[in-house]
Amino acid sequence: MSYFSEIYDGIRTLLTGMSVTGKYFLNSRKGAITQQYPDNRDTLQMFERFRGEVVMPHDENNEHSCTGCQKCELACPNGSIEIIWDRVIDETTGKKKKIIDQHIYHLGMCTQCGLCVDACPSDAIKWSQNFENSVYDRTQLTRVLNKPGSKVRAGVEE
């Protein structure tokens, strides 16, 4: 009797599969996933977790939250991040304090693994959604992430 139940199961499962693809077919007008890229570059939105390049967000006072702890530099498997730092005297406490001079990011070497973003304790760096990263000269791929004149936001280091 398993012979007939196999035939029944075979037909049933095939029809299940066809109903699934049939639904896709009927809904294809509404939701084609294809992006016609150069035509829609003004409106194209990358998805939330897309890894474009590492950026350092600055607020309106030109302050970032990078403390210069170098955890990202250590986490990076191929040395795409270099931090040039300095020691200064903190005006309020009078203690010595580490600040970043330049947070250098080599996009040309970066493999978009995301370990630096995961390692950052103060969420100073994050992924951006931009996808048009090609340049004519590779020196442009070496980027300084902290803006000139920026400083660390107060309260980040506590």
Partner: protein
């Protein structure tokens, strides 16, 4: 009627002996042109349907909504160099594509597209179709063998196994319907269906026969899920790995025309050919073409639906399906149909 008037027109300026030959050549040329274009648009349809099944857009750049995509592809293929392997059997290698495309086009000649539009109303029509469609596999075997390429050879041998096995099911499922019609002539089969399409007349056994026919017909055309012949992930392109340019295009076109033929046989035998549903437009003769093509394209769409849904079978699964399932069911179904016709419990309007 149409052919008669062409006959008179030709007789007005050439001797009677030459007229019949000219007529044949003319009809052949018309069929060739129409079905080459049809084949091209079937390729486009397949690509569009595949895209919609996968939530893509499909070709949409060349012409309005990609209308001229396959015409452009065909032009490209015509302009391509014809390559081949050094140790290929040159004669057979060059012959193989013509076997495939000519058998595909020959099969088209017997279809009644509408009441008077049938090139060759032979009294063994259905048998002729089955015979012709089995000749096509010789072209595939020749192509695979003469290419001197292991993938092509494996693909060709698989095609041989598959076509010989599934030929049985195609033949038997059509034979089941022939019990009902009592004739192999396609125009006669259509006449019988004026009192109800055969899938309605023969109810249960006809539906089983239709299902078996569609399964084995898909296998006959070497399409997915039975496309081990040209399983890309295993064999490159199968038997036409070494072909390029127009010779490749012949194989490609033949595959799509064969799909049209399988759907057209199903239309003629199960769904009343050019007859309109419930005879609503039978008074207008040329709408027959519309109904024939509409039904055929619905079945072609069904085959495309199969292709973009089911995964490919292994060789052993393929043969198990044929010899352990389809063939016994088919034989039982044949007996069932014979009993139904004998007891006269068919449904007729």
């Amino acid at each position: 009627m149409k052919i008669l008037s062409i006959n008179e027109w030709l007789l007005s300026f050439m001797p009677a002996g030459a007229v019949s030959i000219t007529k044949m050549v003319l009809i052949a040329l018309i069929y060739l042109t129409v079905f080459a274009v049809l084949g091209l648009y079937l390729v486009l349809l397949e690509r569009k349907v595949a895209a919609w099944f996968q939530l893509r857009l499909g070709p949409n750049r060349v012409g309005y909504k990609g209308m001229f995509q396959t015409l452009a592809d065909a032009l490209k293929l015509v302009s391509k160099e014809l390559t081949g392997t050094v140790k290929a059997d040159k004669f057979l290698y060059n012959l193989a594509p013509y076997f495939v495309i000519i058998t595909a086009l020959m099969a088209l000649s017997v279809f009644p597209f509408t009441k008077n539009l049938q090139a060759f109303d032979i009294n063994i029509g259905l048998f002729f179709l089955i015979a012709i469609s089995s000749i096509g596999v010789i072209g595939i075997l020749l192509g695979g063998w003469s290419s001197n390429n292991k993938f092509a050879l494996i693909g060709a041998m698989r095609s041989g196994v598959q076509t010989i096995s599934y030929e049985l099911s195609v033949g038997l499922s059509l034979l089941t319907m022939v019990i009902l019609t009592g004739s192999l002539q396609l125009s006669e089969i259509i006449e019988v269906q004026k009192s109800g399409w055969l899938i309605v007349q023969g109810h249960i056994p006809a539906m089983i026969a239709f299902m078996i026919y569609m399964i084995s017909g898909t296998a006959e055309t070497n399409r997915a899920p039975f496309d081990m012949v040209e399983a890309e992930s295993e064999l490159g392109a199968g038997y036409h790995t070494e072909y390029s340019g127009m010779k490749f295009a012949y194989f490609f076109l033949a595959e799509f025309i064969n799909m049209f033929i399988i759907a057209a046989i199903a239309t003629t035998v199960f769904f009343g050919g050019w007859l309109s549903p419930f005879g609503i437009t039978d008074s207008i003769p040329f709408l027959g073409i519309f109904w024939f093509l509409a039904k055929t394209f619905v079945l072609v769409f069904l085959m495309m639906w199969f292709r973009w849904t089911f995964p490919r079978l292994r060789v052993d699964q393929l043969l198990t399906l044929e010899w352990k399932y389809l063939l016994p069911i088919n034989l039982a179904n044949l007996v069932l149909m014979a009993v139904i016709v004998w007891l006269n419990i068919t449904i007729q309007f």
